[in-house]
Amino acid sequence: MIARTESAYAISPQRIGAMMLRYWYLLRSSWPRLLDLVYWPTVQMVTWGFLQYYIATNAGFFARAGGTFIGAVLLWDILFRGQLGFSISFLEEMWSRNIGNLMMSPLRPIEFIAALMVMSVVRLSIGAVPVTFLAIAFFGFNLYGLGLALVAFFFNLMLTSWAIGIFVSGLILRNGMGAENFAWSIMFLFMPLTCVYYPVTTLPVWLQPVAWVLPPTYVFEGMRALLVQKVFRGDLMLDALALNAVLFAAGVFGFLKLLQSARRHGSLMQTGE
């Protein structure tokens, strides 16, 4: 009845699937969780959409740069909600005091991370897809009109969101719920530096190199180039991809080191503050 063969380094799609099933059961059982996925993206999109509408009727540049604000809001939401979707699924384990059960089970850390990554896409899809249709209905902005560029933007932003989510999860494992606030706030550090709503040249000269170290900066610059100059900057996407590869590897490495440290400090059984 029980499977007895187990290779030490095997990665099991069944265990990844089990974790996804666990989060799906949770989402399905809780309408406030589902509503929360859609609520903030909608509020944000509507607010910024009306602001763009107002500015566009009063300023020549913005009239030309149709959709820049709404586009930025929607892409920012991919970055922010992607990380939050990852982190909230992880936090569910801490809130329910289930992390010890998982760490004691045959689930590998890399399988846990994979399940959290897939769930961040699922949560993002539930929250963001309806909002993109609302953007078409309210403001005539069709995100899908970006075509293949959208795929490049999305992939790069998700990679960044996962890298940050993975590292923050490690911080929480090591330091307990006292570090929970990082999950909610860390991405806001990226907002001014990655130039979501303005070009990098707006930043002081000394700060611009910092912005160019962050992969999302290339995505937001790429989006503006596409919407304002009607040019797809493939070079920016490749630069973002290279930086994301480094950031993602650093995130996973940081997570594994923090998990190792949590084992040394006995934090996995005591997951409180």
């Binding site: 499977a3 004691m104 084992r263 059984m269």
Partner: protein, 249 residues
């Protein structure tokens, strides 16, 4: 590894900053045995169990479970172990069946549906399988945690206070079930408990810890004889208050 003891602990030490939580303990458990780990608060029982499970890394010394070095080789044996502890819970929003399904898949249980039905019958959970775990009583939740701990028919079972907060009837029922499980499956059970009656009834061997060290280690009958006491509770109090077996007599 065939022939390896289910649990072997050698000169195990765990120091948190400068405080020794476990201080050079050694013991080996025989296959199919039920052993009680006794000790007051802060004696090092939970830290010892956490190191056996691979959740905490020892400062020095060695733990092997079914021949695998913990935590380094834990993935070789984790599917053959399981545990229950008051420090962890199964997700409360999920139904009992959903929780058992998730953990069954994590442990690679075959014919999972059948196994859940079997546990439902054995642990008197059949009528509760489709209810959210959070809506159950304390006793029912403990039975669910036990079902999770038994989902993979573990060869090594670690239980930390398995009957805490249960009424005497349910606690007695759980003990009987554990005894039957270990006998039928030849499973090895290490049980940390403050409940002396429970340890006396279930365990054929008792390890008493104090300040991270093993103060005594024997069968309940021999401990009672050595300390000249009638109950394990009296023995426990002697050890806790620093009365030696010679002085107790």
């Amino acid at each position: 590894m065939p022939g390896s003891p289910p649990i072997a602990v050698e000169r195990l030490v765990k120091v948190y900053k400068t405080i020794p939580a476990v201080d050079g303990i050694s013991f080996t458990l025989a296959p199919g045995s039920i052993t009680g780990l006794l000790g007051g608060n802060g004696a090092g029982k939970t830290t010892t169990i956490a190191m056996i499970m691979g959740l905490t890394t020892p400062t020095s010394g060695r733990v092997t479970v079914l021949g695998a070095d913990m935590p380094r080789e834990r993935y070789r044996v984790l599917h053959r172990m399981n545990f229950e502890s008051p420090y962890v819970e199964v997700p409360m929003r999920l139904t009992v069946r959903q929780n058992l399904t998730v953990f069954g898949k994590l442990y690679g249980v075959e014919n999972l549906r059948g196994r859940i039905a079997e546990l439902g019958r054995q642990l008197d959970l059949a009528d509760l399988l489709d209810r959210p775990t959070g809506r159950l009583s304390a006793g029912q939740k403990t039975r669910v945690s036990l079902a999770k701990a038994l989902i993979n028919n573990p060869d090594v079972l670690l239980l930390d206070e398995p009957t805490a907060s249960l009424d005497p009837d349910t606690a007695d029922w759980v003990r009987a079930h554990l005894q039957r499980y270990c006998r039928e499956r030849q499973a090895t059970l290490l049980l940390a408990s403050h409940n002396m009656a429970e340890v006396e009834r279930l365990c054929e061997r008792v390890i008493i810890m104090k300040r991270g060290r093993i103060e005594d280690d024997d069968t309940p009958a021999k401990l009672l004889a050595r300390y000249g006491r009638r109950t394990l509770e009296e023995v426990f109090l002697d050890v806790a208050r620093g009365v030696s077996s010679e002085a107790a007599q």
